[in-house]
């Protein structure tokens, strides 16, 4: 249930690890904003935007859901929003190598990036694991860094080295130089920052689960995870979720073995699985994507719907608010004209936090109103006898029309 934002500038960032970077990703809910309308009409109520890939360790993101209406006239810090800390890492070599993403992509890259891409590491798949182990940003380095922190902050009494006969001495260690990149990674080791891993092939997925096991943390979700079906028992054992495309394949050499049965087979083996879109267009039609779980691999209809509702909520650790209709959860729901797995189903209403953001009947009325207004303006221009050049007019401001008064109260199912 995610789509990527492409940050082209980051492609040129000349380091394989950029955990220094912090993104605050705000899912602005702007009621009449055209892009948002597209999504509401497709019944999409919670989006999950990932910071771009292309680095072995990518930037962090702090995911927040912010209401546009509540943002007006208020300080940001006053807002109520859902929040979690995350980080993306990437094991997909073609993205890391940057040069193998196809000729068109290569043509679009500028010379600086090209030069960097050819000189950067990793260039081979097996080196990715060495990166996690042996580089300045490896988990070994983070582990050592983490060990040092509590020692110096707690002022702990430690025995002097040697035979232990002397008097215990209180030593104050010099704190390690603060490293913002390693700070973020320490949060990963401590389980305070969830890791999402961009992945395609079974070898890289297996490798990362082993490394995570060794260092005592769990990967939150493997994204795309197109060969997840080949190694599903390992993903389940490790405890990670899987968020996959339903049926994209053959666009790169690594995804030649991607199959539409991926989701259902991982589910059968016991992995919490969801379908993602990776596209602002496909995001509008996740209901019928779920139907592909029935078609390929024979999921039950209820189970297939969970792939785009409850399962992604569990993966994002927001299932206490959204993902199913239960007492106490957010009033986020959709009214359909038909079984949502049917290709003929149309979304009639979308509700988020108890507020009706999309309504087919209201939408039609608004269209009529806009059409009328447009005609009136055209008539006004046509009937005008004034041939001189008029003065430039400025719009009076953004007026978004909604049928309800703005408020910050969160709608909850009672």
């Amino acid at each position: 249930m995610h789509f990527n934002i492409s940050l082209t500038a980051l492609l040129a960032f000349p380091k394989p690890a950029i955990s220094l970077l912090r993104f605050l990703i705000l899912s602005f809910i702007i009621p009449a904003f055209p892009d948002q309308q597209n999504l509401y009409a497709g019944t999409y109520v919670t989006d999950y935007v990932l910071e771009g890939i292309t680095h072995v360790i990518n930037g962090n993101y702090d995911q927040a859901e912010v209401f546009w209406d509540s943002l007006r006239g208020k300080e940001f810090s006053e807002l109520e929003y859902n929040f979690f800390k995350g980080m993306t890492i990437d094991t997909v070599l073609s993205d890391l190598r940057r040069i193998t993403r196809g000729d068109e992509f290569e043509e679009r890259m500028n010379t600086v990036i090209k030069l960097y891409a050819k000189r950067s590491y990793p260039q081979d798949r097996h080196f990715i694991s060495m990166f996690y182990f042996g580089s300045a940003h490896s988990f070994l380095a983070i582990y050592a860094y983490r060990q040092e922190i509590p020692d110096c902050h707690s002022g702990r009494v430690s025995s002097p080295p040697g035979n232990g006969k002397g008097t215990p001495q209180t030593t104050t260690k010099i704190p390690p130089r603060r490293d913002l990149e390693l700070d973020a990674l320490v949060e990963v080791l401590d389980g305070k920052r969830m890791v999402h891993c961009h992945s395609y092939r079974q070898d890289e997925i297996l490798m990362l689960t082993r490394i995570a096991d060794d260092f005592g943390f769990t990967i939150g979700v493997f994204q795309h995870v197109l060969e997840g079906y080949k190694i599903a028992e390992r993903i389940a054992e490790h405890g990670a979720g899987a968020s996959t495309f339903t049926d994209w394949w053959a666009y790169k050499i690594e995804v030649i073995d991607a199959i539409p049965y991926n989701g259902s087979l991982m589910h059968d083996v016991g992995v919490v699985t969801s379908f993602n879109s990776d596209s602002d267009e496909l995001a509008r039609r996740l209901n019928t994507e779920a139907a592909k779980g029935v078609k390929y691999g024979g999921l039950s209809k209820e189970e297939a719907l969970k792939f785009v509702t409850l399962n992604p909520a569990i993966q994002l650790k927001i299932d206490k608010w959204v993902g199913s209709l239960e007492e106490g959860k957010d009033a986020d729901f959709v009214i359909w004209s038909d079984n949502p797995l049917s290709t003929y189903a149309v979304c009639e209403q979308t509700w988020i936090d108890g507020i009706n953001y999309f309504n087919l009947i209201r939408d039609r009325k608004m269209r009529k109103k806009i059409k009328r207004e447009r005609n009136e303006l055209i008539q006004k221009i046509l009937s005008s006898k004034d041939n001189s050049k008029g003065e430039t007019m400025t719009p009076s401001g953004h007026e978004y029309e909604l049928s309800h008064p703005f408020n910050c109260l969160k709608g909850v199912i009672r």
């Binding site: 055209p34 666009y251 602002d280 797995l341 290709t343 003929y344 189903a345």
Partner: protein, 442 residues
């Protein structure tokens, strides 16, 4: 090019591997299918109907067929549905295996004017994309070369056969022309100035006129060649290949989405006195009167796309089909013909379904990926509907093919029983075995 060098290039360029599915042998004996619901599309549905086909051709269809041949095989398909095979009206299937791997991309030749390119010759009948696509009911694809101003000649390919010759249903289908951009691109990433863009546009339009002028001149000279006092005219493959276009035997497929492009292209083909099919057509609904008046059919591409402009209604791409239908414009529906989408052509029926969800009658939606596609491509004498004399190219399903949950259970192309296996099913079965070995699944 020296022979040695060309050999090396050949070795490196022909990176291909074969799919596991074996092309079917020709139909050896008459086959009768009975007790199925038949959807001929050219006429009403026949419940508990029968269809008889001999040597790959439909010889009878109806409620009850009498006078069956002696050696007829009878297949009872109670409760199943029979539809004409689906037609993908624009794709690069056969010309691409993996879009990101240059060695597998065979759809964009060097040069801007390539009317002599023939898509069918580069079609790889062993592509893994073919069994994947046909296993969801697509039996015929319109394989289209891309790039440049004039990309080349397209071909209608059947998704089964040992060679590209076996697979070719009809070629050429038409000439493909990418209409120049008419509007000024003011995106910040564009480095060309407004003046430069205008100049480039004019240059491309002049180039198009010149190409057709030269081809006409060639045709004239060739016809006159050999007459007394007129010298022999050498063959020029580029202009030679354009003769069927100039003689209106086949159309020119103009790829254009934006309103000014469409208007200008219609005007241009009118002046050139050639047949036109509009491909893309995002804005076609805005100029439906013009298209109807000039009898220009539309291959409406990619229903599953975002609105072209920020101020358009969110469902604009979904409702374009019903608007064309109401305006009386001839159209068919196609998925995106981009090479990235070639592996995903199996989702074609769901593009038509979305058009139906947003107002197009269901029967029209079905025809827009079968009969209407065949008519626009000029292959409706063979495929597109189930009629006596047409090819026995059809699918057997357990329900409405526009629903994702429906499965294609049997498929015939010219009477040949098609293997519905594919790379994905093989891998699925393989890894089910793994989890059975581990005792995780049954």
């Amino acid at each position: 090019m020296r022979p040695a060098l060309s050999m090396i290039l050949l070795v490196f360029c022909s990176l291909s591997w074969a799919s596991d599915q074996i092309p079917a042998p020709p139909q050896t004996h008459p086959i009768l299918i009975k007790d199925a619901t038949i959807h001929p599309l050219s006429s009403g549905n026949i419940s508990h109907g029968q269809i008889l086909f001999v040597d790959g051709v439909i010889t009878a269809i109806g409620k009850k067929i009498h006078d069956l041949p002696d050696d007829v095989e009878i297949i009872n398909l109670k409760g199943k549905h029979i539809y004409p095979g689906l037609i993908a009206a624009g794709t690069t299937i056969g010309l691409v295996e993996i879009n990101a791997v240059r060695a597998t991309r065979d759809f964009t030749e060097v040069g801007k004017i390539n009317p002599n390119i023939r898509a069918e010759v580069g079609y790889n009948p062993d592509s893994d994309l073919i069994p994947v696509t046909r296993s969801n009911g697509i039996t015929v694809v319109h394989t289209v070369p891309q790039g440049g101003l004039i990309s080349g000649m397209s071909a209608a390919m059947m998704l089964d056969g040992w060679t590209w010759e076996d697979a070719t249903l009809k070629a050429p289908i038409g000439l493909h022309l990418n209409w120049p951009r008419m509007t000024i691109n003011r995106a910040p990433s564009i480095t060309k100035s407004e003046e430069e863009q205008k100049e480039e546009r004019e240059k491309q339009l002049r180039e198009l006129d010149e190409v057709f002028e030269k081809a006409r001149g060639y045709l004239l000279a060739k016809k006159a060649s050999g007459r007394t006092g007129i010298p022999h005219h050498d063959t020029d493959l580029r202009w030679e290949s354009m003769i069927p276009i100039l003689e209106k035997e086949i159309p020119v497929f103009i790829h254009a989405n934006e309103i000014q492009q469409i208007e200008m292209a219609v005007d241009w083909t009118y002046r050139q006195k050639i047949k036109m099919v509009l491909v893309g057509g995002k804005d076609a609904w805005r100029v439906s009167d013009l298209l109807k008046k000039n009898g220009i059919p539309v291959i409406l591409e990619n229903i599953h796309s975002l609105p072209a402009r920020r101020f358009e209604d969110y469902d604009t791409p979904f409702t374009t089909a019903v608007k064309l239908y109401k305006a009386g414009v001839k159209f068919c529906i196609s998925a995106s013909s981009s090479s990235f989408e070639a592996p995903h052509q199996r989702n074609l029926p769901y593009q038509a379904a979305t058009a139906a969800a947003y107002g197009l009658p269901k029967s029209e939606a079905l025809k827009s990926i079968t009969l209407y596609a065949a008519e626009i491509l000029g292959i409706d004498d063979q495929v597109g509907s189930l009629d006596i004399g047409k090819d026995a190219t059809f699918i057997v399903t357990d329900g409405d093919p526009l629903e994702i949950t429906t499965n294609v259970e049997m498929e015939f192309i010219q009477g040949k029983r098609i293997d519905l296996g594919n790379r994905h099913k093989t891998l699925y079965e393989k890894y089910q075995v793994k989890y059975r070995q581990l005792g995780i699944i049954r």
